[in-house]
């Protein structure tokens, strides 16, 4: 059912989608959370990585997960689009709902989930193909064959990531010839080309220089109008700059979750304060 709806949306894609996305949609009540994480625990074999985590991630906001290395923030992010399925011997307990639907039971197959929940990785990883093919890859996988429709999607996605003006004359060049920052923005364009509702970003700027980082951050603020963004970051300043809500994880536990400003200025938990003031991490 869901898939059919998505396919239809795909067919009417070219221009009106912009309108659809920006106009207020009565079906999407902004007040309901986009992602609900309900008592999630996660194990690698017998090793617990996440313990009893519950949180609600708001729609059209940037939510950041911070915490020291190995605290489980990436694992939590990867639970949201079931990337952890690929890890042998891994197991999740609890439930995650996206748009009110359980990702394991109610959203068609895993492919449909990942179409709804896009992901951008720490190390930018464009395919060794042309710029055009990179962006068109997702839509092609999901059944868009028409060249004109694909061109429209590519242009729209590249415009959304402010890459269009830089690459419009060389769409058939290898994506690997772009600079690091451009490659990462291309990866974002590739992720939003399938029109996801949630965009997961796993330390998207850690391999970039400060200027490129600034551009990606601007982009995130821009993109949250249309997408719900969940970002994992090592960089507390970055979380402070762009996130609306921030969660602090430590040793697999969600220590504190709240509005970014409150978390950084008046943390409720002593461990949060120790971490953000640099006493460990």
């Amino acid at each position: 059912m869901n898939e059919i709806r998505l396919k239809n949306e795909m067919k009417n894609m070219p221009r009106e989608m912009n309108v659809e996305k920006t106009a207020p949609d009565p079906a999407r009540e902004p007040s309901t959370p986009m992602v609900e994480i309900d008592r999630v625990a996660f194990f690698y074999g017998n090793q617990p990585a996440l313990k009893n985590i519950s949180m609600s991630i708001p729609r059209n906001k940037v939510t950041a997960f911070i915490g020291p290395s190995g605290c489980g923030k990436s694992t939590l992010l990867r639970c949201l689009n079931r990337m952890n399925d690929l890890v042998e011997g891994a197991r999740m307990e609890g439930a995650i709902r996206i748009g009110g639907k359980d990702i394991h039971r109610e959203i068609g197959d895993v492919s449909a989930l990942r179409k709804q929940v896009g992901m951008v990785f720490q190390k930018f990883n464009p395919f060794p193909k042309t710029i055009f093919e990179n962006v068109a890859y997702g839509p092609t996988i999901h059944g868009t064959k028409d060249r004109n429709a694909l061109s429209a999607i590519v242009e729209k996605s590249l415009r959304a990531t402010a890459l269009w003006d830089e690459v419009k004359d060389r769409l058939n060049d290898s994506a690997l010839r772009l600079s690091g920052g451009q490659q990462q923005r291309l990866c974002i364009a590739r992720a939003i080309a399938v029109e996801p509702e949630v965009l997961l970003m796993d330390e998207p700027c850690s391999a970039l220089d400060p200027l490129a980082t600034a551009r990606i951050e601007e982009l995130m603020v821009e993109l949250k109008r249309n997408y719900t963004i969940v970002i994992v970051t090592h960089n507390m300043q970055q979380a402070a700059r762009i996130a609306d809500k921030t969660g602090f994880l430590l040793l697999g536990e969600l220590v504190e979750f709240g509005p970014t400003e409150k978390l950084f200025t008046r943390p409720a938990d002593q461990r949060t304060e120790d971490y953000i003031t640099g006493r460990f991490g």
């Binding site: 179409k115 990785f121 060794p128 193909k129």
Partner: protein, 540 residues
């Protein structure tokens, strides 16, 4: 002292020298080998002047110097060594030996043999001598000398045209009739006794028709043969008169009369003939076209077979199989397979492909031809399959290495976009690993083009009556035996009755094989670089 040595060791100078010497040695050996092949091969086509050698012991020889060596005399010291010359005097039919040794001490005079001609014949090798007269149907049409040569060359043109016509007639027209007759015979043989009178009647009628057509063609052939009336009379060095029918002559030329440009033109023409002509005189003369064709075709078929097989195997090993002891064992086995002597693969090919699979195919589809085997004997398909088996480890290993170096991030990115594992493999991993696959294929092709041992028992022959591709349905005949450059070298060099005549052929064929392998590799490398350029960041 120890301190100083220690310093040298620490700095690693010694190691750098050793490495340099090693590299230089390898380069010198390779360059020397190539140079030796090249020089020996290149001189083969060059039209050298004929010499007239008068002997003190009486008699004259017209010929070409082909070698010089010390006469083995065990008792005498080095300084007083005497030498002898190897002379190619041709005229095998007259003198019995076309190469002779002449003691240098026995030579009275050496001079350029003015007016001496080289006659390239279809049989008996070259003839060296002077033109006495040109005859046609018994009557003389021209005398000797320059004017005679002119007339002779004119007559040669018509003789060659007639020969080409005869060749065409026997090879294509009569070949086609024979092929149809054979099919007809098999169809008749496969009819059950007394089964269908109509079919039998139809087949016998067809047979009659074919026989009539065959008679027609042989009559036409006879008419053409009757036209071959020209002959030329030559004088040998010792003034004997030899008459040679023009039908047996390929070309006549006077090397002494050729200028520099003429010689280069001649050289090029000979080189082209070498790669485009069929062999003659049990492979010691003529060209090697069937061997080139066979080699290239075998390598192509092998590539078509080995690439999918090796790539699929490597993908399974690296992408799908659970990485454990079993996969490690398989991987070791695959690597070891690359070290198995090639003749073992040949024996396997004979036992499995030819006798088992080929024999089964024969029983199922070609029963009417039995006991004469169709697929149950060596052929280009089986040889290619055996070669594919021999080279599949190379493709597997190189594809696996390529797969290992494809960044895991690419797979993740594709999966995260909602692609399945198969879509990821097909659309992202396979294109990214393509250059590695091509690298494997290059290595496999180089190996297959140079390998001889397994081919000798799976379908290569000294002389194949027809190419594996021709104008007769189904055009590609994978069951046919074929010729191969590597085997050609072995055969001409070591199995030939006339070693001296064959020697230049060996070098030329070797050069050709090396060139062919280099060309095949260059083509594959060019393809790979194009792909890499398309994929890579550095681009240009």
């Amino acid at each position: 002292m120890t301190h100083m040595f220690k310093g040298v060791w620490k700095r690693g100078d010694l190691f750098i020298w050793l490495a340099g010497v090693g590299l230089a040695l390898s380069l010198i050996m390779v360059a020397g080998l190539l140079l030796a092949i090249f020089i020996n091969a290149a001189t083969f086509f060059w039209p050298a002047d004929l010499m007239r050698i008068s002997l003190k012991s009486g008699g004259t020889v017209i010929g070409l110097k082909t070698g010089r060596e010390a006469i083995p005399q065990p008792e005498t010291p080095e300084a007083s060594a005497r030498y002898r010359l190897q002379i190619k005097q041709g005229n095998r039919d007259v003198t019995g030996a076309d190469f002779i040794w002449i003691d240098e001490a026995d030579i009275a005079r050496v001079e350029k043999a003015e007016g001496a001609l080289i006659v390239e014949r279809r049989e008996w090798g070259d003839f060296y001598g002077l033109l006495k007269e040109v005859r046609e149907g018994g009557g003389q049409v021209a005398g000797g000398g320059a004017s005679g040569l002119l007339t002779l060359q004119e007559k040669m043109e018509t003789a060659l045209a007639i020969h080409a016509e005869i060749d065409d007639l026997t090879k294509s027209d009569i070949g086609r009739v024979n092929y149809k007759m054979e099919k007809n015979r098999l169809a008749m043989a496969s009819l059950k006794p007394g089964a269908d009178d109509q079919a039998l009647a139809r087949l016998s009628k067809e047979r009659k028709e074919l026989e009539r057509h065959y008679q027609e063609l042989t009559a036409r052939l006879q008419v053409l043969r009757d036209k071959q009336v020209g002959e030329a009379v030559f004088l040998t060095a010792d003034e004997r008169e030899i008459s040679i029918p023009l039908a047996k002559v390929i070309q006549v030329y006077e090397p002494g009369a050729l200028g520099a440009v003429g010689r280069i033109g001649f050289f090029l023409r000979k080189a082209i003939d070498f790669v485009t002509d069929d062999p003659r005189e049990s492979n010691t003369e003529g060209g090697v076209f069937p061997a080139i064709f066979g080699t290239v075709m075998m390598v192509m078929i092998m590539s078509l077979l080995v690439t999918p097989l090796g790539v699929v195997a490597a993908f399974y090993l690296r992408e799908y199989a659970h990485q454990g002891t079993m996969v490690s064992a398989v991987r070791i086995a695959v690597n070891n397979l690359a070290g198995v002597p090639s003749i073992v693969f040949g024996v396997f090919g004979v036992g499995f492909f030819i006798y088992f699979i080929g024999g089964t195919i024969d029983q199922l589809f070609y029963a009417e031809k039995l006991p004469a085997p169709t697929f149950g004997t060596g052929g280009i398909l089986w040889a290619s399959l055996t070669m594919a088996l021999l080279t599949v480890p190379v493709v597997i290993v190189s594809t696996e290495e390529g797969l290992a170096s494809v960044a895991g991030g690419l797979r993740e990115a594709s999966i995260a976009l909602g692609a399945t594992k198969f879509e990821t493999t097909w659309r992202v991993v396979l294109p990214a690993v393509m250059p590695s696959i091509l690298t494997g294929l290059i290595l496999a092709m180089a190996r297959a083009a140079g390998e001889v041992a397994p081919l000798m028992i799976t379908g290569v022959v000294k002389l194949a009556p027809s190419l594996p591709v021709d104008g007769l349905f189904p055009f590609v005949h994978l069951e046919r035996k074929f010729m191969h450059l590597g085997f050609h070298i072995y055969d001409v060099g070591f199995q030939s009755p006339n070693v001296d005549a064959a020697r230049p052929m060996v070098f030329t064929t070797t050069l050709l094989l090396v060139v062919l392998v280099v060309l095949l590799n260059l083509a594959a490398i060019w393809l790979r670089n194009r792909l890499r350029k398309k994929l890579s960041a550095s681009g240009v």
